[in-house]
Symmetry: D2
C-alpha cells in the first residue's frame, strides 16, 4: 500500500501499510477474537459464541469508511466497530453477538489494537537501526586513520578522524536504540479494564481473563489498566524522538559535508535519487533531506503527545482522543529516518583526499593551539599566545603556513627546532585520544552488532 | 472520500477529500496547465503545446501510488509528477512535452498546489466559524439575564450571566476568524521562481509570466518567490492554532458544565452521538471531545511548523520537505474543531434552573466580597473583612446562608438594614457591568454576522 | 535566595539557588580546580600551579555581571570565565595562570558545570517524589474500601475506590521516578574533550586525565566527549516531562474533585495558601495550580530541547547555546510540581461521605451495564440492552432509581429477583478487580518505599 | 542590571532589566496608583486615599523576596503584593489602605502589569528591527550586481545576486515587524474585570472606571475583561516567533556563508567577539549563534504558550499561571535575536571576489539548465537534456568547463555559435528577474525605512 502523497516523505511503505484502515481493523479484530477465545476457555462466555465471533472477524466484511464516519460522531471508532462486529456475528448467531466485546470498553480495544501495531513497528525500526550501526562500524574501522577537519561553530578547527566521527554517530544511535527497546518493552502491554478500569462486568474473573488475554496476544500484563496513565506511550514517543534526533544529526553533518565547497562525503546516488530536474549534474542529499524532515517534525510531535498526558479521571475528554495521529506520525517519522540513514550509511562515499585538502587549506592555522602549548613551557602562556596569535594572523593575511610564520619569529626559533616546526601541521601528530575514544565508542556491548 | 481511521477524529470529510492524493494531483495539474496557457499567451511556448498539455492534464491518467513511491526517492513529489506529465503529453506530441513545466522548479508546483488547496480550505472553515458566531450571538441574546456561577480556579465565585459567557466565547472566536482571514489573504499568493528564485530560464519574460499566472490561478502575486521565506504560511498556521484554542476553550467550558454534578449545559445528542456502549444513559460531550482533541494537538503542530522556518539559502534541506503533513494536520484540526463547536453551539441545551440552583448551593458565600464592600464604608476594610470572613466560615460549617450569619453579628446589623441583607444573595444585584460588557462583545463589526 | 518574581510559581527556592549565578560559577570553578589537581597529580602541569589555581578559585572574586555581559559577546560564558580565572591566578603567580583550564575547551567547563548542578538536582526532586509515593501509598491503603464514582469523559460511570485511584497515581509517579533515575544515571558523566573532542592538547595523557577527572568530580566517564551528542540530556529532559505529566494528572484530578459541586477532596489549606483576596471562604486548589502550571509548560520546553539535538559537527552554532535556559526551566518545573504534589498528597482531605453521596445522586443509572449483563444471560444482549436503556432513560426523566424502573418491567422481574434488584446499586458489589489492581499497583519493588 | 548567567545568551540587558523584580513591581504599582487616582476622580474612593496610596507606592518599600516566596504559596504574586501595599498605606492612613486595589482582582494587576511592560518592550525590539531593515537595504542596494551562487539543498545552483538575497531577508523581517506591530496593538489593552470579569464590586461605575483607567495608563480599552481569553497574547507570542524565525534564517544563511570553505561573508568581529580561546585565528559567527539559539527555543516556547489558552471558566487553574516565564522568554529571545542580527547586518563584510570564485569553481555546471533551454528550441527538450547531461558529467569528471564539453559535441555546435557558448557561464547573463524581484522586495511601504 503506497504512502499518501501528503505523507510521501513522512513514512516508509511498510509503516504506512501498518497503520492503514485495514491493518488497524485487523488489530482490533485480533483483540476481540482473543478476548472471546479466552473468555470461552474460562467459561465466561459460551465456546460456540467465541467460535462464531472468530469466524465473523473477517476484516473484509467491515465497511471502514462507515467506521470512520461514525467514529467522528461517537468520539471513538470502537463503538461502531463493536456494533458492526455484533451485526456480522448476529447474521450467523444472534446470541453469540451479545458475547462479543464481553466485559471490555471501547478504549480497551483501541489501545490494545495500537499496542498490537506498535509491536509490529518495533522490528521494522530496529532492523534499520541495526543496519546503520553495522554500516557505521565498518566505516569507522575503515577510516580509523582518515584525518579530516574538526569543525566548531562551522569553522575549521584541529583535526579529527572520520573514524571517530562515524563512531560518535554510531554510539548515539546505539544508545538511542537501547532506550527505544526499553520503551517498547514497557509499552507492549494489553489495555483491558472495562468501563472504569475495574473489569467489574467480569465479576471475579477479571484478572484471569486479563492474564490469559495477555498471553493470547503475546503482550505483557500491566499492573492495572492504564486508560488515563499514558506515561509508557509518552516514553516510547520520547525515545523515538531522541533516536530520530541522533539520526538527524548524522544527516545534518553529512549534508554539510556534501556541500560543493566541502565535498568530503557523498550520499549514494541512483537513477531515481538525488538528481535534479533542472540541474542534471547535481548530487542532492536526498536521504539527508528525508531524515532531516522527519527530525524537524519530531519536537512538535512530542509536544503534542506530552500535552495529552494530563488525562481526566478514568477516561479523558479530548486528550486520549488526540493521540492516534501523533503516535502514528512519530513511528512513521522514526521509521523513514532510520531507513534513509541506513541507505546513506551503507552507500556513503568518503573522499579522503578532499578531507586532507580541506585540512591543508587552513594553512596550518588550526594548529595554533598546538603551537601555543609547545611554546608555553618555555615562554609562559601569555607570551606564547601573543606570538602564535601574531603568526596566525599573518598566515591568514599572507596566505602562508603558520609554521613558516612562526619560523620567522626569533623567540619561537629559539624554542622550537626545525623538525618540530615541520611536523607542526601534521594532522596525525595532533589527534590526541581520538583513536582511544573511537574504540571505546565502538566497543561491543550486549545487543550491539559484532564487528565483521 | 472518508477520513482514514487513524485520522477519524482529526478531520472532516471535506477536508480529508481536499488533501487526498487525487485532489493534490489536480491542484498540481492546475498549476501546470495555467503556466502553459500563460506562457503560450505571452509567446514563451507554442500555443499548440499549451493545448496538448492542458488536454493531457487529466488526473485519471496518473499513477499516484507510483508518484508517492518516487517522491520518497527524489525528495519531492514534483520531479516524478513532471516526468509523468511529460510522458503523457509526449504520447500525443513529443515536442509539446518539453514545454511542460517550462521555467518552473519543483518547489513552484508543490507550493502553489498547496496554496490552491488552502484557498479552498478557507471558506470551509470560515463558514463553520460564522455558524458558531451566529449561534453564540443568539444564545447570548437569549440568555442575557440568565444568571449562573462565575467560577475561578474551578471554585464558585460571584455570579455572571450565561449571556456574558457566550459573548466572551463569541468575541474570541470572531477575533480569531479575523486573524485567520488576514493570514489567508497573505498566504494566497503564487510560488513561481524557477531553480533559485530568479526565473532565469524565462529570460526577460519572467515577471510577465508570473503576473499572468497569478491572475490565471486567482491568486495574489508576491513581491518575489518565497522558496525559503515561510513566514506567511507560519502566520496562517499560528492563526489557525489560536482560533482552535478559542474553540477549545469553549469546549473545555462546556464539558465542565456538562459534568453530572454541575449539569448546566448539554451538548446536542443524537442516535449516533454521545452514547456509550456500556452506559446507555450517558450523554457524553463528544463534540467537546473532538474539539479538545484538535486543540490538544495544535501547540505541537505549530512547533513543528515553526521549526521549519529556518530554511537554508534558496532551497532548504529537510525543513521545507517537512511542511506538508503539518500544514494539512493544522487545517484539518481547525476544520474539525470548528465543525464540532458549530454543531454544539447550534444545539446547546441550557438549564437555567440548574444554573440558579448551583448559585443557591453556595449559601451566599460567593457574595462575601459584596458584603465586605457594603460594610467597608462604615467599618473600614479590615474590620469588614474580619466580620465577613467569620460569617462566611460559619456559613460553610453550619450549612446556612451567609446573609443569615451576618444578620447574627451585631456590628453588621448596625450597618446593614434587613432589606440589604435580604438582597445580598440576589445574583441580579451583583452583576456590575456584565450587560455592558456583553453588548460590547456582541457589537457588530465589519464582517461580523448581523444579529437577527 | 528567592525565586525571581517572574518565576515565582515556576521554581522552588532550592532549585532557584542551585542555578543562581554564584552556584553556576562555583560549579565551573569546581571543574577547573579538579582539572588542575588531576593534571598536577599526573605530572601534566606543575603541582604548585594547581595549588595556586585552587586557591584562586573563590567565587567571591569573580564579577558575575561582567561575566554575563561578556558571555553574550563571546557566545559562551566560559571564555570570559577562564580569562578572569587566569587573571586572578596571575595576581599570585603569572606562570600558574597559563596552566588553568589546561587542555580543556569552553564547552567542557560549561557542560560539566551543568552536570555537576544536575547531580545536586536529583536528590531534591527524588526526595519529593518519594514523599508523594509514601503519602499516596498511605492514602490508598486507608481508602481501599472508599467507593466513589468512576468518571469517563467527565461523566458519571460505575464505581471505583479512591484507594485504586490513588494507587494508579502512585504507580505512574513511581514509573516516572524510575525513568528519571535511569536518565540521571546516564547524564551524570563529565564532558572533557578539548577543542574538537580529541584531547589533542594533552598528547598521550588525555584519557588518563579524563579518568581521574571523573573520579575527582564524582561523575561518570563517558565513552568519549559528547559535545554535539546531546541524547543523554534529551533523555533526562523527557523523563522529567513525563513524571511532571503524571504529577499534573494527579493535580488535574484533584482540582476537578475539589469543585464545589463535587466536593470529594480538599487540598491542605493554610493561612497563606488557597485563600482569595476577595472571597474569604474559598479553598482554592493552589498546589494543583502550581503543578498544572509546571505541567503546562513542559511539552513546549521538551520541544525546545529536542530542537537543539541536531548539532553540527564538533560544536554547534546556536543549538548547544540554546540549552541552558531550557534545561534549567525543566528541572525547576519538575521540582516545583513535585514539591506541590508532595504537600497536597500529604495533607489531602478525603470526604468519603460526599463520594458516596455523588454515587447515589446518579439514581443507579451507572449500573446500567451491570443490569444489562445480569439480564443478558436470560434475554440475550439485544433485548437486555433495550430494556435497560428504557429503564435508564425513565430513571433520568422521573428522577427515580434505575432499580425501581427495572422493577416495573415485567420481563425484568421474571429474570431478576428482588434481592438482586436491591443490590443492583450497591457500589461494593460492582468493583470487579479493583482491589486486585490496587494491590498490584502498590506492590513493593526495588527502590519503592515500603508500605508502613 | 546584568542578565543572569543561565540567560546570558537569552536576553539583552534592557530586556532583562525590564522583567526584573523591581521593574515588575513598579508596573504593578503603576496599575494600583492609576486605579486609585481614577476611582478618586470619579468619586468611588476618597481623594485623600488615592493620594496616600500614590505616595506609598514606592517600590523601594517592598520586599520582593518575600513577595516571591508568598506568591508560590498563594498561586499568584498579586495577593501578597496587595497585602504589602495595604500595610504600607496603613502605616500612614489605615482607612486609605482599604481603598487600595478597590474593585480589582489579583489577575487584573498581574495582567495589566504585564501589558505595561510589553508596551515598553515594543520600541526596544522595533528599533533593532528597523536597524536591520536599514542595514539590509543598504547592503542590497550596494550589492545589486554582486553575483553569487544560488544554493539549493546546500548544493550549487544557478547564480543570484547578493542584493536579491539581502532583499529577501529584509522583506521577510519587514513583514514580521508589521505582524508584530499589529499584535502589539491588539495586546496593549488593560485587564480590569474584578473577581469574575463583571466589575460587580464597582456597581454602576465599573465601565467608567475602566475607561478612565485605560486613559490613565496609556493603554487601550478592550470590549471586556479577557481573564481567560488569551488569544491576543497568543497572537503576540506567535508574531514574535515568526519574526525571530526570519532573523534565524538570516543567521543560518550567514553562518553557512562564513564557513572557511565558503568564505563569502564575515560577521563583524571585535576584541571580545568571535574569538576562540584555543584558536586565535578563528572568526566565529557569534551573532549568528545568538540569533540561532533564540530561534531554536522559539517553537517550543510558542507551544508552551498555546497550551495555556484552554483556560477554564472565569479564571484558569494552572494555564494562566504558567504564562509569565514563557511570555518573558519569548520577548527576550526576540529582542536578543534582533539585537544580534542588527549588529551583524550593520557590520557584515561581503567578499564579492570569493563569491565569484565559488561560482567559477562549479565549472559552469550550474548553467546546465540554461544550456538545455538554449538547445531545446532546436533539438527538442529530450535530446537537449541528454546532450547537456552528458556534457555536465564530463565536466565534473574531467574538471573542465561545461561550455568546453558542449563545444566538443557536434550536435551542440550546430545549434550554438561560439559566442553563445562563451557567454554561457557568465553569471550576469543568467539572472532573469533577479533585479526586478529585488526592487519589489525593497519598495517602500508605509512604515518601511526610506532608502538613503
Amino acid at each position: 500500500m503506497p504512502v499518501r502523497l501528503i505523507d510521501s516523505l513522512a513514512s516508509t511503505e511498510p509503516l504506512a501499510e501498518l497503520f492503514s484502515d485495514n491493518s488497524i481493523l485487523r488489530a482490533m479484530l485480533a483483540f476481540e477474537v482473543a478476548l472471546a477465545r479466552v473468555e470461552a476457555r474460562l467459561g465466561v462466555i459460551p465456546r460456540a459464541a467465541a467460535e462464531t465471533i472468530a469466524t465473523a472477524a473477517d476484516s473484509g466484511r467491515f465497511d471502514t469508511a462507515e467506521l470512520s464516519r461514525k467514529a467522528l460522531r461517537a468520539g471513538t471508532p470502537s463503538i461502531s466497530f463493536v456494533k458492526m462486529l455484533r451485526q456480522i456475528v448476529a447474521a450467523t448467531d444472534e446470541t453469540a453477538a451479545g458475547f462479543a466485546h464481553w466485559g471490555a470498553t471501547s478504549q480497551d480495544v483501541s489501545d490494545t489494537a495500537l499496542v498490537i501495531l506498535l509491536k509490529r513497528v518495533q522490528p521494522l525500526i530496529e532492523a534499520d537501526l541495526a543496519r546503520i550501526e553495522q554500516a557505521l562500524h565498518t566505516l569507522s574501522e575503515k577510516h580509523s586513520n582518515t584525518v579530516m577537519l574538526g569543525r566548531t561553530l562551522l569553522q575549521a578547527a584541529p583535526p579529527i578522524t572520520f573514524g571517530l566521527k562515524a563512531a560518535g554517530w554510531l554510539a548515539a544511535i546505539r544508545r538511542g536504540r537501547e532506550r527505544l527497546s526499553r520503551a517498547f518493552a514497557e509499552v507492549l502491554v494489553i489495555q483491558f479494564g472495562g468501563a472504569v478500569g475495574t473489569l467489574a462486568a467480569l465479576g471475579e474473573e477479571g484478572m484471569n481473563v486479563a492474564q490469559e488475554l495477555a498471553v493470547e496476544l503475546g503482550l505483557g500484563l500491566p499492573d492495572a489498566p492504564w486508560h488515563t496513565h499514558r506515561d509508557r506511550l509518552a516514553a516510547l514517543v520520547c525515545a523515538s524522538a531522541i533516536v530520530t534526533g541522533s539520526l538527524g544529526k548524522v544527516a545534518r553533518d553529512i549534508s554539510l559535508l556534501m556541500q560543493n565547497e566541502v565535498g568530503e562525503l557523498t550520499e549514494p546516488q541512483s537513477e531515481d535519487r538525488g538528481g535534479s530536474s533542472t540541474m542534471p549534474h547535481k548530487r542532492n542529499p536526498i536521504g539527508c533531506t528525508v531524515a532531516l524532515a522527519a527530525a524537524n517534525r519530531m519536537p512538535g510531535l512530542v509536544a503534542s503527545y506530552l500535552s495529552a498526558i494530563l488525562q481526566e479521571h478514568e477516561r479523558a475528554v479530548g486528550a486520549w482522543q488526540s493521540e492516534w495521529p501523533t503516535v502514528v506520525a512519530v513511528m512513521q517519522a522514526t521509521g523513514v529516518a532510520a531507513a534513509s540513514v541506513a541507505e546513506i550509511s551503507e552507500g556513503l562515499t568518503v573522499d579522503a583526499d578532499r578531507m586532507r585538502k580541506n585540512l591543508s587549506a587552513t594553512n596550518g592555522t588550526i594548529y595554533a593551539e598546538k603551537a601555543t602549548i609547545l611554546l608555553s613551557g618555555r615562554l609562559g602562556r601569555d607570551q606564547a599566545n601573543r606570538l602564535v596569535e601574531r603568526a596566525a594572523k599573518q598566515a591568514v593575511v599572507k596566505n602562508r603556513q603558520l609554521a613558516d610564520m612562526l619560523g620567522e619569529i626569533p623567540e619561537v626559533v629559539r624554542c622550537l627546532d626545525t623538525q618540530t616546526l615541520e611536523r607542526l601541521s601534521l594532522p596525525e601528530d595532533y589527534l590526541g585520544s581520538a583513536e582511544i575514544f573511537r574504540q571505546r565508542l565502538l566497543q561491543n556491548r550486549p545487543g550491539i552488532p559484532k564487528k565483521d
